[in-house]
Symmetry: C2
Subunit: 222 residues, 2 copies
């Protein structure tokens, strides 16, 4: 278990022994789950920190017609519902169900708060996780206000563009970028190709050269 | 200053003396600002915790045509950019400028992390603030997926509706609700009136009686 935890964002930078002693000093449980088990329903109170150790979970929404819609897939050693443990609306935003058998580490909220106080590295890591979630959502909302994929890409590039440097560095995968912009990955790739054919940009791995700044700005000049 | 801080969400539940000793044990500054001063630009690294003590600030976006767009107004004793101090994108999401003269308390990030470790109440308060921000943004994204205000209201009510109880309790102001749904307050009020005329609901202060559940579900049955 501790090797898995060592790889988790929550325990980044800690040695196995440190994690071992932190966990063993706080009351915790290992919860086994079976495939298709529903672990929580949307709206239920989140009362414990959960770290996935084995198996896969998914967050799913049931719409009012009864259809299930997959929102997110979770893999070890990810924290589950990390940004919903504290706060005024600390309830599961979606149903949580297993898509394989597996197990997770559970620490109740009070014990988890004490664990955060006990080690500043774990505290910083947890603050990074939930702030990162808020930042991701904040950017996602900005991108939702643009209608076309071309506008979203232009906005993203101009936001990260620094005068005097033709090249914008992309610090995330194309999968992550597609998710943030709220578009499907093939559509993103297709639009990037179009913008390359139009000689607006040249996209190579994580570097994007701005070939025609004026036209790029023109896309947003509504 | 300590009386103002006592009213702030970060120091909720603490006595003035406790706040006094916590602040005096961590290195801090008081920053005075003048009206129209720009305190930070979008994209600049957030390196310190800021609590507004006097005066008003606003977050504003400058679009690519150079127009300024007000996003948010901040008042004492609010924390400024609380969810952007940690995390992988810990930069100001918008420009921060003063709309009156005033002052704020500044604590650098490392000292702030130590302060959080030093008092579990402050830690819980801060976790509540940033988790609340993530939760607000997460719900806002859900509502952005609905086109009409009627759909947004129906979804909100059905989400909070519990079988066997005709009345849904609204745990936020109409201003907060309008902001979360992403609609103007007068439009929200108008649509609520329409839904009352149609005898779908009866909205009284923070209690909404569901008169016609089937029709309410029908609004979303697309």
């Amino acid at each position: 278990m501790f090797e898995t935890l060592k790889a988790s964002p929550l325990f980044k930078g800690l040695e196995t022994e440190d994690i071992n002693s932190l966990i063993n000093n706080s009351s915790h449980q290992i919860k086994q789950f079976s495939n298709k088990e529903v672990l929580a329903y949307a709206g239920e109170k989140v009362e414990k920190a959960m770290i996935l150790l084995e198996g896969k979970l998914q967050g799913e929404m049931i719409d009012f017609a009864g259809n299930s819609l997959k929102i997110e897939e979770m893999e070890p050693p990810q924290m589950v519902a990390a940004a919903f443990l504290y706060g005024p609306q600390s309830v599961f935003p979606v149903n949580l169900s297993a898509i394989s058998e597996g197990k997770m580490l559970i620490i109740f909220k009070n014990d988890f708060t004490q664990l955060l106080s006990a080690d500043q590295r774990v505290l910083s890591n947890y603050l990074n996780i939930i702030s990162g979630k808020a930042q991701f959502l904040s950017r996602k909302i900005t991108f939702l206000s643009f209608k076309t994929i071309k506008e979203k890409i232009a906005y993203y590039l101009l936001q990260n563009f620094k005068t005097g440097n033709q090249v914008v560095i992309i610090n995330q995968s194309q999968k992550g970028l597609a998710e943030m912009l709220g578009v499907a990955r093939p559509s993103l790739a297709r639009t990037i190709s179009e913008m390359e054919s139009d000689r607006l940009i040249k996209w190579e791995r994580n570097q994007v050269e701005i070939l025609d700044l004026k036209s790029l700005q023109g896309i947003l000049g509504r």
